[in-house]
Amino acid sequence: MAAFWRRYDIALVGSAVFGFVLLVTVFASLVAPYDPMARDIKNRFAGPSAAHAFGTDQLGRDVFSRVIHGGRPILSASFSAVVCALAIGASIGIAGGYLRGWLDTALMRLMDVMLSFPSILLAILIVATLGVGLLNVTVAIGFAMVPVFARLARSIVITLVFEEYVLAARSLGASDRHIVWKHILPNMMPPIIVQASAMLAVAIGTASALNFIGLGVEPGSPDWGMMVAEGQRLIFDAPHVPLFPGLVITITVLSVNYMGDGLRDHLDPKLRRQGD
């Protein structure tokens, strides 16, 4: 048990920090000391103080309250994008890896084409096509991640179909649907979950980057990416404005990465032996 704690302590800290960020984000209205949109022009550009822990911005709005509210757009977009990409990508991967043949070739070439776009550019292209907005940012991030899950799922499925328990099920006359649901899906989940946690970190980074360039949320809305973008104009007067939201993005992504590392160590015994 002690060894378990030593191995997973950092992953547990990561999970705890991420859980804390999620809780604060969900209950933002209860936790934030001020209204994130309330202006106080007389008090603008104020540095961090007891009244305003992270200072105030160019309109005198409380940066701390805005940071507390600012996780909602990014975290909701990232979660939804990863879940959708996992569902669609894993389905494509299973279809290709299980059925093989021309369908597999066609699906994987399509995935190759999607992967040949830099993901951020693909996301920007999709947002430009569908229009600016958080829902479209979610679609864009999810779409760009589909090939990652599809390729991983396919690589797992093509080895799983030769496992003895799958061959045994088939020889007993089990249907394809039964084999996929009862044998392949449960066995392919551990690496897929590890990948999903890694992609969640990437999704948070991408969502904040897309909001930074103004594709996700309206200017002025409390959002970590948008706050850094607006703060860039204030680097001479109030450098604390871009500092805090960026710091929170870093802490959130870092905690998800640590959580993912712990999950990987726990679910993949091969990596555990390498001490990585």
Binding site: V113, I120, A128, I235, T250, Q274
Partner: protein, 336 residues
């Protein structure tokens, strides 16, 4: 190996056709076109129709697509719809700055990443190993745009060592030969401009370099850990070789393949994906050009730019494969 490369080369036009067709469709899937987007405010319906006819936007989409493909096959990328400048000239202007940025950031990330990755394996000191692991995971958790802004606040605003934006000082005179400033300014011996160019390039380069060094360090560490437990390393040590030689000549050569793959992919990604860094530093590269093109729905810019980026990406992957064959003699065997 030649057969393999030929096979890859045959796929190249297919990938480019697919990428260009997807881009063509994506841009036209929603109603409206760039002329309407930009000129709606100042033109009446008749004038709009005239301009659309000039660009062929009034034709059926199938005809537009065939026209686009036939021009593309002849290497004609057309003119920008918003500025009228040939796309080929715009790529000549925008590609070199991004390639220079990609090279500088790769040098930084490879240097920091490989050295720290090797150090964490070679120096069996828990503190160093732990610090490298923490720093590398921190590196890949940092948002690029925020790191860029923090570096500007520190080095440009407070210390005044570097400029906040651009590719070269506004008042600096220089001669353009290839538009690769690294070459042009050295070839013409323009050291004042060269110094201004370097001071503009360092922060964007460090921004991308620092954030991707984390990936390189983690990969180097895990690849080295695997190699260091191999039999040939034990043999090299048993022969009495110095540990430094064991690490750099025997282990590193074998651990290089995944690092080269990562950096090759990273190079391709920077060519089109440096949007964010270029935006933060107002750096006039492919990324900002493509982003502006996408936002203005300038069909020619987006199509030309994305095809070019995809081409560079695919060629980079082929180059990585070639490097594999140079580094790993086993891959040169027939049937490998």
């Amino acid at each position: 190996m030649i057969a393999y490369l030929l096979k890859r080369l045959i796929w190249l036009p297919v990938v480019l056709w697919a990428v260009s067709s997807l881009t063509f469709l994506a841009l036209r899937i929603v109603p409206g076109n760039p002329i309407q987007t930009v000129q709606n405010q100042v033109m009446d319906k008749r004038q709009l129709a005239q301009v659309e006819a000039v660009w062929g936007l009034n034709r059926p989409i199938g005809e537009q697509y065939l026209n686009f493909l036939s021009k593309l096959a002849r290497g004609d990328l057309g003119l920008s719809m918003s500025s009228g400048v040939p796309i080929r000239r715009m790529i000549f202007e925008r590609m070199p700055p991004t390639i220079e940025l990609a090279i500088v950031s790769l040098v930084i990330s490879t240097g920091i990443g490989v050295l720290s990755g090797v150090a964490s394996v070679a120096i069996r000191n828990r503190a160093i190993d732990y610090s490298v692991r923490t720093a590398s995971i921190l590196g890949l958790s940092l948002p690029l745009f925020w790191v860029g802004i923090m570096l500007i606040i520190l080095f440009s605003v407070n210390l005044r060592w570097t400029p906040t934006s651009g590719r070269i000082g506004a008042g600096v005179d220089y001669e353009v030969i290839t538009n690769f400033m690294f070459y042009d300014l050295i070839a013409t011996g323009n050291w004042e401009a060269f110094s201004s160019f370097l001071r503009h390039l360092v922060l964007p380069g460090v921004t991308i370099g620092l954030t991707s060094a984390g990936f390189v360090a983690r990969l180097t560490r895990s690849a080295m850990l695997e190699v260091m437990s191999s039999d040939f390393i034990r043999t090299a040590r048993a022969k009495g070789l110095h540990e430094r030689r064991v690490i750099w000549q025997h282990a590193m050569r074998n651990a290089m393949l995944p690092i080269i793959t990562l950096q090759g992919l990273q190079f391709g990604a920077i060519l089109g994906g440096a949007v964010i860094t270029e935006r933060v530093f107002s750096y006039p590269g492919m990324g900002t050009w493509l982003l502006d093109g996408i936002l203005e729905r300038d069909y020619s810019v987006v199509q030309g730019g994305i095809i070019f980026v995809a081409l560079a990406y695919v060629l980079m992957n082929m180059l990585v494969d070639l490097l594999y064959h140079i580094i790993d003699p086993r891959l040169r065997q027939p049937g490998a």
